[in-house]
Amino acid sequence: MAAATLRDVRYAFGENPLTAVALAIFLLLVACAVVGPALVPYDPLATNSDFRLVPPSSTHWFGTDRLGRDILSRVVVAARLDLGMAVCAVALSLVIGTGLGAVAGYRGGWIDNVVGRLFDTIMAFPLFVLAMGIVAALGNSVANIVIATAIINLPFYGRFARAEVNIRRELAYVEAARMGGNGAALILARHLIPNIMPPMMVQASLNMGWAILNAAGLSFIGLGVRPPEAEWGIMVSEGASFIFSGEWWTFVFPGAALVLAVFCFNLLGDGLRDMIDPRRRT
């Protein structure tokens, strides 16, 4: 197993100093998601008709929205929902995709054909459109946004896992495990999947940013998350109606949070790849 040594970590940070910045943003985001609701100055759902659409000030750093809710509090609290949706979606597609792909790559034959067809069919759709269709079909809820995002990401993990297992299938240690009388399930679970996990994790972290964008895009068009709830995509969409009266803070801050989160995960994914897979260092 390609364990990252201290030298690899140092390499990743040295190669791209932004990785350290990304790590700091990541910790901040996680802090917002975990303890954010306890830290924020205002109740994210509390309306206050005396302070509607107040520009950013010392009392309301990010201003307030049309119902007088504090935007800073809402942006911070929303981290839990946004990151939660993305993490769940990525975890689902990582587990299911790896499972399907690994079995297809190990077994070959008709299983490989069926699984390959399934992935091809998913990829035959423009992915965001398929996600919309799935949410429309399964029902308009946060859980279904997670499922839709997981489904459209499935082929990336599945194809990757299939290829990685396929090249290892005939290697000596797998052969030895087979000779020792282990069944296919045991070989996959104990020998092959642990070995393909490091590159799969890199794939997952590179995929996180995209999952966040996707879930936020779905809620931007009004799917999943219901209005009083704080979520970055829906906050941007609610703020959009105040562009024409110049209340920019209503959509800029949640949008910026979204950008920051995606940017951070993309950079972390690159850093992780540098640590785990030295061959792909440029």
């Binding site: 965001f128 429309a136 940013g209 895009g217 931007f220 995509g233 959009a240």
Partner: protein, 339 residues
């Protein structure tokens, strides 16, 4: 030989089309809950749900339902929209030109900017162009399209006043719509000889085009840069240089022609992105295309319309990928001659 390769490619798109039709069928029928209630809409009572169930054949077995679905499709029927009262096909056909005009313009914009950018970035590593290229690629991967589109509207419409109000394809207070020939306003206004309306339509089109194109630009530029770097580092380019060929000839005739294949092959991914993001951009700019139609249909639980839209986009995407494949075959003799 070449014809057979083309036929093979066309046949290769068939499984995708079949898969797409099956998935859309499953999405529209095999739901948890009662599909008849979904199709009948939120305002239906028990009697109208029953009526929908019978008219759609939802009380039949699955294979029979699939057969009906196929025969409806072959007659060009996708059912009726609850919100507009028209057939879904009529709705989509009416709105498709607006979406196509926007998507094509965005694609053209992206290619015109991204390809030279990628070539120059590869030709002069670590120059300003290279850094610009890298910045755009990073931005394209981290910014939500809808957020950038809104920022553009805020800056260029509200603050600077350069762009017209984002009210769709043409501001009807100042201009009249030309009679429809192609459905593309830029062409129809020219046919009608109404240059003021042409300028009006163009002005409306610029911001959505740039905000959509910017994100198609990023993968094209990245791939152009990477493919050009690979081509420029290869032995045949070294030989060409050693033989004293002009730098321009080496760059364009030798390296670029070889890099082009990789660039064309990324277009498939770019289309997936364009067709998906179209929905978000149309939503921001009040663009009367199929994407904004689908969004209002989703919100109104107008079931047949959403599924019709998904099927249309998927079929369009499969066909676009086929075109990309055929073009790649034209460019690459190895593919063309099956070698």
């Amino acid at each position: 030989m070449a014809y057979r390769a083309v036929l093979q490619r066309i046949a290769g798109a068939l499984p995708s089309l079949i898969g797409v039709v099956i998935v859309t069928f499953l999405l529209s029928r095999a739901l948890p809950g009662d599909p008849a209630a979904y199709f009948a809409g939120p305002a239906a009572n028990a009697a109208s749900v029953q009526q929908v169930r019978e008219s759609l054949g939802l009380d039949k077995s699955w294979p029979e339902q699939f057969w009906r679905y196929l025969s409806d499709l072959s007659h060009g029927s996708l059912g009726h929209s609850l919100t507009t009262g028209q057939s879904v096909v009529a709705d989509l056909v009416q709105r498709l030109p607006a979406s196509m005009e926007l998507t094509f313009c965005a694609l053209i914009f992206a290619i015109i900017v991204a390809v030279p950018l990628g070539v120059l970035a590869a030709a002069r590593p670590d120059s300003i162009v290279d850094h610009l290229c890298r910045a755009l690629v990073t931005m394209g991967a981290a910014f939500p399209t809808f957020f950038v589109a809104l920022l553009f509207v805020y800056v260029f419409y509200y603050v600077l006043g350069w762009a017209p109000q984002p009210v769709g394809r043409l501001d009807e207070i100042y201009y009249t719509f030309p009679s429809e020939v192609t459905g593309f306003l830029l062409i129809d206004t020219l046919i009608a000889g109404d240059f003021a309306a042409f300028r009006g339509a163009l002005a409306q089109l610029i911001l959505p085009t740039v905000s959509l194109g910017l994100f198609a630009l990023a993968p094209i530029a990245r791939m152009t840069r990477a493919a050009m770097l690979a081509a420029l580092g290869s032995d045949f380019v070294r030989t060409a240089r050693a033989n004293g060929l002009a730098a321009g000839t080496v760059l364009f005739t030798y390296a670029f022609r070889n890099a082009l294949l990789a660039v064309v092959n990324t277009l498939g991914m770019v289309f997936s992105f364009l067709l998906g993001s179209n929905v978000l951009i149309e939503q921001v700019f009040g663009w009367p295309g199929v994407g904004s139609y689908a969004v209002s249909a989703v919100i109104a639980s107008d079931y047949a319309s959403v599924q019709g839209f998904v099927l249309l986009m998927a079929v369009a995407y499969v066909l676009l990928n086929l075109v990309v494949d055929l073009v790649a075959g034209l460019i690459d003799p190895r593919v063309r001659f099956g070698g």
